[in-house]
């Protein structure tokens, strides 16, 4: 039996997996499902889950380098899943909560222009920095109102996906 806590699409779920004769009994927040699971390869699973019907789910589960979370594709629907304790606060751009907002490069590219200065007040959706990748200029915008606390990017510099560019206080 294995018990874990997962954050699924932002909500915490208690999941308990118990091996049965020919599959698994999986309890999610107390409700138990009979699951026949077959591994296809490192990231692909086939699940048959007994409910009213015996439904087939085609699963690809891969870690997301930018957010350090697991992306579970249920068919073509991507769902973000994090095991509790492992999740990192990477994808806060656009979040409206308290604390500093960190703006990360969402893809590798070149910083073409920085449009703000440290100490400058910014409004939600105001462009902060322009990153060129794959021949397109992409504006990264502020997720909420605030003040530029720190700029880690340099114009002309190449950055990797996930690189910290700007902090808004």
């Amino acid at each position: 039996m294995m018990q874990s806590e997962f954050e699924v699409a932002g909500r915490t779920r208690e999941v308990t997996v118990t091996r049965t004769g020919d599959g698994f009994a999986v309890a999610v927040d107390g409700h138990t499902w009979n699951v026949d699971a077959a591994r296809i390869d490192g990231q692909t699973l086939s699940l048959l889950v007994d409910n009213v019907w015996r439904k087939s789910y085609d699963i690809i589960a891969t870690p997301d380098p930018a957010t350090k979370q697991l992306t579970v594709h249920v068919g073509t629907t991507p769902v973000t899943v994090a095991r509790n304790g492992r999740r990192r606060g990477r994808k806060e751009s656009g979040a409206s909560g308290a604390g500093p907002q960190r703006v990360f490069a969402p893809m590798p590219g070149k910083v073409v222009r920085i449009l703000v200065k440290a100490g400058e007040a910014v409004r939600a959706r105001q462009p902060l920095v322009v990153v060129e990748a794959m021949k397109m200029e992409n504006e990264l915008r502020a997720g909420r109102d605030g003040t530029i606390a720190d700029i880690h990017a340099q114009e002309g510099a190449s950055v990797d996906a996930g690189a910290l560019l700007i902090i808004i206080q």
């Binding site: 698994f24 591994r39 699963i59 589960a61 249920v74 073509t76 969402p106």
Partner: protein, 509 residues
């Protein structure tokens, strides 16, 4: 013509290789450093390195490509689209090296490559153009002067690259305050994309449709038009879905637009494959927008409804053949076809590029589906190039069935390792505006803005629960077995697996 060098990469290079093979012509690839293992290199008969990954150091290097063609003993060069496809200096360099350029003459490319010169040519051919500046804006024009021009055209105004194409170096400006920054951004993007920062201004029509006419012209004076393509589904002026025929085009309008297209092409002595793009306003009037002097990304949908292989015809025209096609059949579509451009972009994160390793890939198949791809599992989508990994094309007897088929195919698509626009297409094809074909060129940008970045495919409670189950079960099942797939299946299929184990043991040989 025995050997053709393809001056391109990715899915279009693979597409041209396929045409060559079917014509018993040897295809030759070129590649940058990071494309060494790409499919176009592996599908070709020969492959020559042309430099580092940066396009300016490889796929845009005219002399290296011509050198490779000469070294390979090629008879001709196919430019694909993008990169040097609309570069008249390249076409001239190929010709000057004694090789055939599979495309129009350098002169025609040059004329139509300048969007302002092209507008002038259309006017001379008696075809209306969208109101705008006759000449490029001078690179040192003061902001005030540009603003005055914009005012005389009337807002909203479009800032466009003179050397433009594919929506690059284009900006919409709704009032004067945005003008200078838009001009600056457009110049910079145009310079990066085309090596030419010149821009001009054009009036933005109210909710027009983008309708275009594919043409083929041979060296014997024949120019034939094809049934129109509807390309109004655009994001930031880039086409994302195309279809043919257009629901907005009546037989009479088709007749008028195809005639206008032929008139423009004739005005510049056009040969080989090209496309005349029009805007169709809400009153049913159409305006010449620009000409693309090359094959287009959306060419497969025309192939699907007419049965004509456009790439093979490019080659046949280049070797001097006459257009032996029934003109009436080309404007009489059989069924309906739709293309979705599958990009390595994260639609739920402002469509930002998502390069990286494709860890798993399962592409759709079956009736009416064509996947023109340059991607494969285990390969990378490099940061350096256009992020399109595949053109997914559906055909059916009519538009509703083509939509149903495309939705089915999108549902079969599986990609892991990178994000793609597949979830976005699943959402888009279910929208009433798409199903009813009531869209226009700004529809998508408007609806995207109104959605405020909401995910395109939102998981249902059931799907969330299944995701939790999958994550938990995957952890229990780890690590991945290298031999048999899983316990139950293994026992069931015993017989072949003893042999398989032997195979595994031998792998080290």
């Amino acid at each position: 013509m025995k050997k053709i060098l393809i001056a391109n990469r990715g899915e279009i290079a693979v597409r041209v290789i396929r045409a060559c093979r079917e014509m018993d012509i040897a295809p030759v690839a070129v590649y940058s450093e990071c494309d060494r293992t790409a499919l176009h290199v592996r599908y070709a008969d020969e492959a020559y390195p042309i430099g580092p990954s940066e396009p300016r150091e490889s796929y845009l290097r005219i002399e290296r490509i011509v050198d490779a063609a000469l070294k390979a003993g090629a008879d001709a060069v196919h430019p694909g689209y993008g990169f040097l496809a609309e570069n008249s200096a390249f076409a001239a360099a190929v010709r000057d090296a004694g090789l055939i350029f599979i495309g129009p003459t350098p002169k025609a490319i040059e004329t139509m490559g300048s969007k302002t010169a092209a507008r002038a040519a259309a006017k001379r051919a008696g075809v209306p153009v969208v109101p705008g500046t006759e000449d490029p804006i001078a690179s040192d024009a003061p902001d005030a002067k540009i603003a005055a021009v914009a005012s005389s055209i009337g807002y909203p105004v479009l800032v466009k690259a003179v050397a433009g194409g594919g929506g690059k170096g284009m900006r919409t400006v709704t009032d004067r305050q945005e003008l200078s920054s838009a001009v600056r951004a457009a110049r910079s993007e145009a310079g990066a994309a085309f090596g030419d920062a010149a821009i001009y201004l054009e009036r933005q029509l109210t909710r027009p449709r983008h309708i275009e006419v594919q043409l083929l012209g041979d060296a014997h004076g024949t120019v034939l038009p094809f049934v129109e393509r509807e390309c109004s589904i655009q994001r930031r002026h880039q086409k994302v879905v195309e279809e043919t025929p257009s629901t907005a085009v009546s037989p009479a309008l088709r007749q008028a637009m195809t005639s206008a297209a032929v008139a423009v092409a004739r005005a510049v002595g056009y040969t080989n494959a090209g496309t005349i793009e029009f805007l169709l306003d809400q009153d049913g009037r159409f305006y010449f927008l620009e000409m693309n002097t090359r094959l287009q990304v959306e060419h497969p949908i025309t192939e699907m409804v007419t049965g004509v292989d456009l790439v093979q015809w490019q080659i046949r025209i280049a070797r001097g053949e006459r257009l032996a096609l029934d003109p009436a059949a080309l404007v009489t579509p059989k069924g309906h076809s739709i293309e979705c451009r599958v990009y390595a972009e994260d639609p739920d994160n402002h469509f930002l590029p998502s390069p990286g390793r494709i860890v798993a890939l399962r592409t759709p198949g079956g009736p009416g589906i064509r996947d023109d791809s340059g991607a494969a599992a285990g390969l990378d989508v490099p940061i350096f190039y256009d992020p399109m990994i595949s053109k997914l094309v559906a055909w059916a007897e009519d538009r509703p069935r083509a939509i149903a088929r495309m939705r089915r195919a999108l549902g079969e698509y599986r990609v892991a390792g990178i994000k793609t626009t597949v979830p976005f297409f699943i959402w888009l094809l279910a929208q009433a505006e798409f199903v009813d074909a009531t869209f226009h060129t700004t529809y998508l940008d408007e609806v995207l803005q109104a959605r405020h970045g909401r995910p395109f495919v939102e998981p249902t409670p059931e799907v969330e629960e299944i995701a939790a189950i999958a994550a938990a079960v995957q952890a229990v099942l780890s690590p991945a077995p290298v031999g048999p797939q899983n316990g139950a299946s293994s026992a069931a299929c015993r017989g072949q697996w003893k042999s398989h184990a032997r195979a595994e043991a031998l792998r080290g040989m």
